[in-house]
């Protein structure tokens, strides 16, 4: 069968070819339509100029393998693909909006804008990582900002699906990626570490915040290796008013050793959304780059770096670094339950060395008098609650960097807690449930609502009751015990 030419007006496998949208180094994009598909779609076809362009072919194959496996709002939806035997193509959703590339013209951007877009990208990255894909080419032109404000990634030609063969692994001897964004381990051709994407996102955020790339635009292997020993200039060096917390976050993403970076994209997103919770270290205070002596020492050390050093770390390439949230009830009389909850939280945390714990308490607001909590006494109550929450967590003996504390003010405690879990991509919720009473059954239960609606695993902790105690005689059909990790504000 004669090959159908890829040109405007032609039809390939039912797709009517429209305008050519873009021509890049490796592929071209065409706007296409098919009567049964009512969202904008495009056809991507590899540019194989002389039939022997291996990198373009293999990158395209990777995308053919990975895209059909992906789902959700942060990736283009996959529709169809064509074989190399005939006309190779992929038809996918045309993501509305634009890439972050034009934003580079507007840099430096205000810190709060950088943090906001950073949190959204990190959240999207977390979704991708949970689908077992490492993107490995995160850069402004591959990050799309949809009109909804959501982030979507495009171009999976260099990506790795951890459950599929890596076609690129054996193929090319040179490191693959985009020079300014490549993580140190990518220089050693390690392609299975999710934390490589966190490094690239750090580069992107640094660039947005300063207008400068932290490692410049290297054009050869030696220039690429510089990031192994030369620390990026602190953001405070060019702007003394730059928020130290955001410098802490960005420089942590840019650490040479993956173990020293954020261990998961969700933890990065969390910090970007909770500046007051970021643990400041020496990174936050740096105002100038390493001195000549330190630099020389790092240079000598980096000369000895080899693949094995990063490989041993890549063995734990999927560190389970969840965010565990606990909703703590601080009402007087609930001490025994709070202690039991702490014991269970302690066990849970012990089984995930990379986990972070978010301790949350809700300050219930009166629906009618919303402004009440805004006055001075309301503020004080908030602070007092925060202190109590920290006191509750102290016996856990966790490093400060692994815990955060949040007092939410809301009229509906269950909704506030569910909302917190959703916004922060929480993996597990632990909360206590008090013994039932007729009143609580009448009012409905916070824990029952959370169990029903939370976007993740929920563990309900309850004090063991002895025979004859209140509640023991209840039948199974009774609604779950009401709980309040929540105290009335007044």
């Amino acid at each position: 069968m004669a090959r159908e030419l890829l040109e405007t007006g032609a039809t390939i496998d039912g797709f009517l070819i429209g305008e050519k949208i873009h021509i890049g180094g490796m592929a071209e994009l065409w706007s296409v339509t098919r009567p049964d598909i009512d969202v904008p779609i495009l056809m991507k076809a590899p540019l194989i100029l002389d039939g022997e362009d291996a990198e373009a072919i293999v990158g395209f194959e990777m995308e053919q393998m990975i895209l059909p496996m992906l789902s959700g709002p942060h990736v283009p939806r996959f529709f169809a693909q064509g074989d190399f035997a005939d006309q190779p193509y992929i038809v996918m959703e045309r993501i509305p909006g634009h890439s972050l590339y034009p934003w580079l013209e507007k840099t430096p951007l205000p810190a709060d804008e950088v943090a906001d877009v950073g949190a959204r990208i990190a959240q999207a990255l977390n979704d991708l990582h949970k689908q077992n894909v490492v993107h490995l080419d995160i850069k402004p032109s591959n990050v799309m900002l949809k009109p909804s404000g959501e982030i979507a990634f495009v171009d999976f030609g260099l990506s790795r699906h951890l459950h599929l063969p890596d076609l690129l692994a054996e193929e090319f001897r040179l490191p693959m990626g985009t020079g300014p964004y490549m993580a140190p381990e990518q220089l050693f051709r390690i392609r299975d570490d999710r934390r490589s994407d966190i490094f690239a996102l750090g580069v992107l955020l640094y660039h947005l915040a300063t207008g400068v790339r932290p490692f410049g635009f290297p054009r050869n292997g030696r220039a690429l290796r510089k990031r192994l020993w030369k620390d990026p200039t602190p953001l405070l060096a060019s702007d003394p008013k730059f928020p130290p917390w955001l410098q802490e976050v960005i420089l942590r993403c840019l650490e040479v050793r993956p173990d020293d970076r954020y261990q998961s994209a969700e933890q990065l997103a969390f910090d970007l959304r909770h500046p007051e919770q970021v643990q400041l270290t020496a990174r936050a205070r740096r105002t100038k780059g390493d001195g000549i002596v330190t630099r020389l020492r790092r240079y000598m050390k980096a000369a000895g770096y080899e693949r094995a050093m990063f490989e041993s770390q890549a063995l734990v390439h999927a560190p389970h670094a969840p965010i565990i949230m606990t909703a703590v009830d601080l009402t007087p009389g609930g001490e025994a339950l709070a202690a039991e909850l702490r014991a269970i939280v302690g066990q849970k945390i012990a089984s995930f060395p990379e986990a972070r714990l978010a301790c949350v308490n809700v300050l219930k607001q009166n629906r009618v008098q919303l402004n009440y909590s805004l006055d001075a006494s309301g503020r004080n109550l908030h602070v007092a609650r925060l202190v109590e929450l920290k006191e509750w967590a102290r016996p856990l003996g966790l490093a400060a960097s692994r815990m955060t504390f949040h007092v939410l003010e809301a009229p509906d405690p269950a909704q506030a807690l569910i909302g917190f879990a959703r916004t922060n991509d929480v993996d597990q919720i632990l909360l206590g449930a008090r013994a039932s009473s007729a009143l609580r059954r009448y009012l409905g239960s916070v824990s029952a609502q959370i169990v029903a609606e939370a976007p993740c695993t929920v563990t309900v902790v309850r004090l063991k009751r002895r025979a004859g105690e209140e509640g023991d005689h209840e039948n199974e059909a009774a609604p779950a015990d009401p709980v309040s990790p929540v105290d009335a504000a007044s």
């Binding site: 291996a54 072919i57 293999v58 194959e61 053919q64 393998m65 059909p68 496996m69 074989d83 190399f84 035997a85 951890l162 459950h163 599929l164 063969p165 890596d166 076609l167 692994a169 054996e170 193929e171």
Partner: protein
């Protein structure tokens, strides 16, 4: 078409039944048994009878080195456990069962696929395919785009672009691997009856010719019963013990 692929059943009735039951529930249009129906396990007669019944209903069955040795006693190159088990196996089989094993073909070719027990270079030599170089050797011995074999007892998938080096990959249970059409593929199956990849559950795979993918799967089975029968038959103890750990 969905083709269920099973290799290295090795007289393990419980594992074979569990895998076939899992395949029945998932649905498959065809079943292919890629050799070594017998050897090691305590139910060679049952496995051969069930295989013959499947073949009568359209299944493909191929010969493995243990099937060959159980019939003609050619146990050269095998370890003592395997030899002991084969001598015992030969005594369990009746004439019809032996004839069934003797009559099995070494290979099966269909569309763009080659099914074979071991390396395709010279199937009767029973060479293993354990790394990329051995995979290239086997792939170079056939024009077929996709080869499926067993013999190694550890799942692995190789692929290569013509003229380039092969890439090895250990498949993830339950994730379909797209058999990209411009590449050549060699899928080494895990063992149904004596897994050696540290996962004791019966291993098999399903090839989907429409979706052009292969998906590796596992079926848990009653290892204790299979092991007890090996003890009761007086077969080497290690053949029972290894089933529990999948090594």
């Amino acid at each position: 078409m969905r083709i269920a692929l099973l290799a290295d059943i090795h007289g393990n009735r419980e594992a074979f039944d569990a895998a076939l039951e899992a395949i029945r529930r998932e649905g498959a249009d065809r079943i292919a048994l890629l050799g070594d129906l017998v050897g090691y396990g305590a139910d060679p007669g049952y496995v051969v009878d069930r295989a013959a019944e499947l073949v009568a209903h359209g299944a493909i069955a191929l010969k493995g080195n243990h099937d060959e040795a159980a019939v003609d006693g050619r146990t050269g190159g095998m370890n003592d456990y395997a030899k002991a088990a084969l001598e015992w196996t030969a005594r369990q089989l009746d004439a019809a069962q032996s004839a069934f094993l003797a009559g099995l073909p070494l290979t099966h070719e269909e569309d763009d696929r080659l099914l074979v027990h071991a390396d395709a270079t010279n199937p009767g030599d029973w060479r293993y395919v354990t790394d990329a170089r051995e995979a290239e050797r086997s792939l170079n011995a056939t024009d077929k785009r996709v080869t499926v074999c067993g013999h190694v007892h550890r799942p692995q998938v190789f692929n290569m672009l013509p003229g380039r080096a092969a890439i090895a990959f250990v498949p993830n249970t339950g994730t379909p691997i797209p058999l990209l059409s411009q590449r050549r593929w060699l899928a080494v199956l895990g063992a149904v009856g004596q897994p050696r990849d540290e996962n004791p559950s019966a291993a098999y795979a399903v090839l989907d010719t429409a979706a052009k993918s292969i998906c590796y799967r596992r079926a848990p089975y009653d290892i204790e019963s299979a092991a007890k029968k090996i003890h009761a038959a007086g077969l080497p103890q290690i053949l029972a013990a290894r089933l529990f750990v999948g090594r």
